[in-house]
């Protein structure tokens, strides 16, 4: 379990699944996520059963008073290049734009750079997802380029911004 200023990251428990299903069936929540509704409970249970065999590591985000508000994951870890990509969703909309996602990302970045010894953490953000892009920038991510028509969502091809934070950026902002 890792604790930040506003949130804790902990393992995903079976009891979290109904909330995940609720979030991932919400069009507003999934507006900029790769996954689109519908999502079924059984499908989510199958995902949970195989979570341990999967390369990705997903964590539940809870507030310090224990309310489950989202999840965050390390999706692929490449130990040769020492890089990984991450994904995050804050599913409880009343917790949007209040710094919870940013705190969760900062906690995870600290772990990835200072414990996992990674060199680069990157992600794709939908270019239209300004709230997310500005959050990632506040976390130290820099825009590296634009991937045109990189995914199909809501009846159209959408452009992704590729963003990354590298170890020296992180260290400058978080000296040892």
């Amino acid at each position: 379990m890792l604790q930040g200023k506003l949130v804790r990251l902990r393992a995903v428990e079976r009891a979290d699944l109904p909330a995940f299903v609720r979030w991932f069936n919400d069009l507003e929540v999934t507006r900029f996520l790769l996954r689109s509704p519908p999502m079924g409970m059984e499908e989510e249970e199958r995902w949970f059963e195989h979570l341990r065999d999967r390369e990705e590591r997903v964590f539940s985000i809870e507030t310090l008073d224990g309310k489950l508000i989202g999840n965050i994951g390390i999706i692929h870890v490449d130990y040769h290049d020492r890089k990984a990509d991450i994904g995050i969703a804050i599913g409880e909309k009343d917790h949007w734009s209040r710094g919870y996602g940013r705190d969760a990302i900062n906690v995870l970045l600290g772990y990835m750079f200072d414990e996992m010894n990674l060199e680069r953490v990157w992600l794709y953000a939908d270019q239209k997802n300004e709230r997310a892009v500005s959050c990632y920038e506040k976390c130290g991510f820099k825009r590296e380029g634009l991937l045109r028509h990189n995914h199909f969502k809501n009846d159209e091809y959408a452009d992704d911004v590729i963003m990354a934070v590298i170890r020296e950026d992180w260290r400058r902002a978080h000296p040892l």
Binding site: L2, A11, V12, E13, R14, R57, F113, E115, M116
Partner: protein, 183 residues
């Protein structure tokens, strides 16, 4: 139950999963272990499977450390990697309740495990690995009779730096001599 002055050791049971879950998800506890764990978080179901495998493994033996008064569980200790051929094993201990740190309870538990390992299991040598920044543990092991054997240089990455680990051991004769000396 193996009894000391303030604590006792009883076999680890699968019903102890909740305790293990709590201890092994506590950053204060994991911090000292020298990056042994794949990840900072373990789910209840993963921990349950892990505890089942610990209780079934014939190559190791695990005890819950309990306060004699009130039976409050405070940690787990065991001998792992039991090598029958060479009569050797690795000592592992975690006091999972930070409120119980610094009271010599871990040292008491180690004394009981050493007695068990040497007197009951007829071991010849008990060794351990410890993170070099875990001074609290190192002084406890020294006080228990463990001797420094060497350094694993830049053994693991922690807090943004490469960190050393140490290997220490105690032989059956060291242990007997120490016990005779203290009467």
């Amino acid at each position: 139950m193996l009894k000391g002055k303030r604590i006792g050791l009883r076999p680890l049971e699968t019903t102890d999963t909740w305790l293990m879950y709590r201890w092994f998800n506590d950053q204060r506890v994991l911090e000292d272990l020298g990056a042994e764990h794949m990840c900072f978080a373990t789910s209840m179901e993963e921990e349950a499977e892990f505890v089942v495998s610990m209780t079934r493994d014939t190559g190791s033996v695990w005890f819950l450390i309990e306060m004699l008064e009130g039976h409050e569980p405070i940690g787990v200790v065991g001998l792992a990697n039991i090598d029958q051929r060479n009569a050797a094993a690795e000592l592992r201990i975690v006091v999972g309740e930070p409120s119980r740190w610094g009271q010599g309870l871990g040292r008491e538990a180690i004394g009981l495990v050493l007695d068990y390992g040497f007197d009951t299991r007829n071991l010849h040598r008990i060794w351990l690995r410890v993170a070099s920044y875990n001074q609290r543990a190192i002084s406890c092991y020294r006080a228990s009779g463990f001797v420094d054997e060497g350094t694993y240089r830049q053994d693991h990455f922690h807090k943004g730096r490469w960190q050393d680990a140490r290997r220490m051991s105690i032989l059956v004769d060291d242990h007997r001599r120490k016990k005779d000396a203290s009467g």
